[in-house]
């Protein structure tokens, strides 16, 4: 199922669990993910490894790229068409660029609050021309740069009103060039058009459907569906293009291939797992990042569980003629 234009509506068959990648000490504390032609790049941060871990779809560990010699507090990862790797560093207020083998190409960025300067840059996203949006978190704005660091645009300022931010974190650009921002401390998601004009705000503080508790990331698929990492609520919420709440993902993981291999080789771990409450091992713990690819695979970085849970949308695209007109009110006669 691929698409180039947003369908009128969808018959949502389901969104089943697809697979899990990674494990502790391989993808410990994953904060972002990017995709090459064959490789999967997972950015990890913390005492057990601050680096980019490279995996393949068989969940094999292909080594690491980068590390604390290049970045201290990495937050965002982008992979371009050449598989060059872009990493934002919240400690050094810069963007580090490596090739796919991890060789350093360039570092740019300057601390400060003036136009083009950065204060704790976190999430990254390409616009349709290949320029880079950076979530300039402590300056409470989103800035756009060319890939070699020339300032192009700034969106937003500190505040709670439309188009304002309080420590924005995850960002994403849809296929039409609209920008989505997880406005972290305002517990909402905001959308901006290609020119940076405010379009809408989604969500409020809380734990009910459609509410967020410190959302860390947002992504949009080619159907216009919006996915939000509702980190403190340990879930990912899905909304359609009209901002209607569709469903939540709480986690339904099975073992990753590498995890299964590890457990089968350790008799004590096998025994302990058989003695424990199994329910907990499926659930999400602080999903930090969410991304979706052109095949409608949803990647949830299950941060507290050191793994990536993947789901795949099963839906039929509908034209306007296939579905009854919108109704103003609900009916009990449901045929």
């Amino acid at each position: 199922m691929t698409t180039t234009s947003i369908p009128y509506d969808l018959l949502r068959s389901g969104f089943p669990y697809y697979m899990t990648l990674g494990q502790r000490r391989v993808t410990t504390a994953p904060v972002d993910i990017g995709f090459g032609k064959e490789n999967i790049y997972v950015l990890t941060k913390g005492g057990l490894g601050t680096q980019i871990r490279v995996l393949n779809w068989e969940d094999e560990n292909l080594g690491v790229r980068g590390g604390t010699d290049l970045f201290q507090w990495p937050a965002g990862l982008l992979v371009d068409e050449e598989e060059n790797l872009y990493v934002s560093d919240e400690a050094k207020d810069c963007l580090v660029i490596m090739n796919k083998d991890g060789e350093h190409i360039q570092t740019w960025g300057e601390s400060g609050s003036d136009e083009g300067q950065l204060n704790r840059p976190s999430s990254l996203a390409f616009d349709l021309e290949g320029n880079i949006f950076i979530s300039d978190t402590m300056n409470h704005r989103i800035q756009k740069f060319t890939r070699d660091g020339k300032f192009l645009q700034s969106i937003g300022e500190m505040g709670t009103g439309d188009g304002q931010f309080d420590m924005p974190w995850g960002i994403s650009v849809d296929q039409l060039g609209n920008l989505y921002v997880a406005d972290w401390r305002n517990d909402r998601v905001q959308k901006f058009d290609e020119s940076g004009n405010f379009v809408f705000s989604l969500g409020s503080s809380g734990s009910e459907k459609g509410q967020f508790k410190r959302p860390t990331a947002v992504t949009v698929d080619n159907h216009g569906d919006i996915y939000v990492s509702d980190a403190e609520n340990d879930r990912v919420q899905l909304f359609n293009k009209d901002l209607k709440y569709i469903q939540s993902f709480h986690g339904n993981a099975t073992l990753s291939p590498s995890g299964q291999q590890y457990i089968l080789a350790n008799a004590v771990t096998l025994r302990l797992r058989s003695m424990a409450d199994f329910e907990k091992t499926q659930r999400l713990d602080a999903p930090m990042m969410v991304k979706v690819d052109d095949e409608f695979r949803l990647f949830i970085l299950d941060y507290g569980n050191h793994r990536i849970q993947i789901y795949k949308k099963d839906a039929v695209e509908l034209s306007k003629e296939q579905i009854a007109p919108e109704m103003r009110n609900p009916i009990l006669f449901t045929t």
Binding site: G47, R120, G259, L272
Partner: protein, 467 residues
């Protein structure tokens, strides 16, 4: 308000908390000493600590994995909390009910135990002991999960009586055996293993099928006792009140002989201990009336500088002065480092050396730890950009005479008193520096260095090692 009042308030905040920055002392300057005591005893009156930023920039705090990070985070809480007694009483119970990570290496249960002390530390002895008996970290530490109805393990039963409540000499070997039988079947849910996806929490479980329901005779009482009954009986004993009060006195008031000597060495202040026991027993084991009595007592007010700071007090108190490790983490301020700093001073939080806990008082100090303690405090002011130094300088005013510099710095940092030898030595330094004009732009850098050096000299004194 007299300088003595402020000194007393600073003393209270050092003992019932982890010291106070000059700004924090300003905030209580208009309150009476007694009102400050009441605020300390009622943590619910204070606002919650803002953890948004620390968790944003230390997201590893979201999962209970490496214990140094979480132990360091505890010190960060000691620095930033608005409820200092809540953290201090948790540290107190961690001293008394010493449980170490190194046996189980299960960080979630270690974190949960400290959270329990934070939650129940100011409640009631009976409640505290019951929660302790159901605590998975303690349960595994003292092998009660291996205490089966057909195969008793007496480790928990023994330490409950010897190190957690009554003390040696107040019970028999038979009492230990009977108490242990009452705790059979008190175990915990098997947590999922660390690999492949990290640590998972656990919780207390009562396994009825593994409990010995037979009749027991404990401390002269007979019945079908379970664990709660044993704790009820323990809490009726004066020996338990004595044991808790000696610990409290040693931790909050004045350094006492260490616990192995308690059966042969009497309390340093037996009259105070007797009064504390009376308060505790007449209030059914409630902690708040006891602590209220202690903090308002003359023996507490007279105990200024009679206690060697434990490493946490030294670290948190010093970092309150520098204004670092605050609500918004800065580059280089990794909270896990705080655990390492405490460790080299002899206090690895969540990892006490034995079930007896840390020995305190002068035993905190040896050739190695003294170096670490002094160097740590002094080195914090090597960085002239720390906010605490700017605050001290701004409080000195525009002009400072050489003869005033030391006294002013002591007032701002403490208020703090030096012995004659240290006072004379530091006065010589002040004389050598001369009068300071802090409005003179040309000499501002040099003057700031002079002041930073004076602060460092004060922090390097013997007196700064005491609370």
């Amino acid at each position: 308000m007299s300088s003595n009042d402020l000194k007393l308030k600073a003393h209270l905040l050092r003992r019932a908390g982890f010291g106070a920055s000059p700004k924090e002392l300003d905030q209580v300057s208009d309150k009476s000493y007694e009102d400050i005591v009441e605020d300390l005893l009622h943590p619910d009156r204070a606002e919650e600590i803002n953890m948004d930023y620390i968790k944003r920039y230390n997201p590893e705090l979201r999962y209970p994995d490496t214990h140094p990070l979480h132990a360091g985070f505890w010190i960060w809480r000691m620095i930033n909390t608005k409820k200092p007694l809540e953290e201090k009483i948790a540290l107190f119970w961690h001293h008394v009910f010493a449980t170490a990570w190194y046996k189980g290496e299960h960080t979630p249960s270690q974190i949960e135990q400290i959270e329990t002390f934070r939650r129940n530390g100011l409640s009631n002895i009976k409640q505290i002991l019951n929660d302790l008996a159901k605590d998975p970290a303690m349960n595994y530490w003292l092998d009660n999960c291996e205490n089966h109805s057909d195969q008793p393990n007496e480790n928990w039963g023994r330490e409950l009586l010897e190190l957690f409540s009554m003390g040696v000499g107040n019970y028999t070997e038979e009492d230990i055996k009977q108490a242990s039988r009452a705790f059979t079947g008190w175990t915990f849910e098997q947590p999922l293993p660390l690999y492949p996806y990290g640590n998972y929490e656990t919780k207390f479980v009562f396994d009825e099928s593994d409990h010995d329901f037979g009749e027991k005779t404990f401390l002269g009482r007979t019945g079908d006792f379970n664990g709660e009954d044993i704790i009820d009986i323990i809490c009726e004993e004066r020996a338990t009140a004595l044991f808790i009060c000696r610990h409290l006195y040693n931790f909050f008031v004045e350094d006492e002989p260490q616990i192995p000597a308690w059966s042969i060495e009497p309390p340093r202040n037996p009259e105070a201990i007797d009064q504390m026991i009376d308060v505790l027993m007449s209030n059914d084991g409630e902690m708040v009336p006891l602590l209220r009595f202690v903090f308002n007592s003359e023996f507490f007010k007279d105990s200024m500088y009679k206690k060697v700071k434990n490493p946490c007090e030294l670290i948190a108190g010093t970092l309150k002065l520098t204004g670092t490790y605050g609500i918004m983490p800065k580059q280089g301020e990794e909270v896990g480092k705080l655990y390492g700093i405490g460790s080299v001073m002899g206090q690895a939080l969540m990892n006490p050396p034995t079930v007896e806990g840390w020995h305190t008082g002068h035993e905190w100090i040896d050739g190695g730890t003294l170096n670490e303690r002094v160097n740590f405090a002094v080195n914090q002011f090597n960085d002239m950009s720390v906010p605490g130094l700017s605050d001290i300088i701004s409080r000195l005013g525009d002009r400072v005479k050489a003869s005033e510099l030391l006294d002013k710095c002591l007032d701002i940092i403490g208020p703090f008193e030096l012995g004659k030898q240290a006072y004379d030595a530091l006065s010589e330094y002040a004389e050598a520096v001369g009068d300071l004009d802090l409005t003179n732009e040309a000499s501002i850098e040099q003057n700031n260095e002079y002041i930073a050096r004076m602060v460092q000299l004060i922090l390097s004194t013997r007196e700064y090692q005491f609370a």
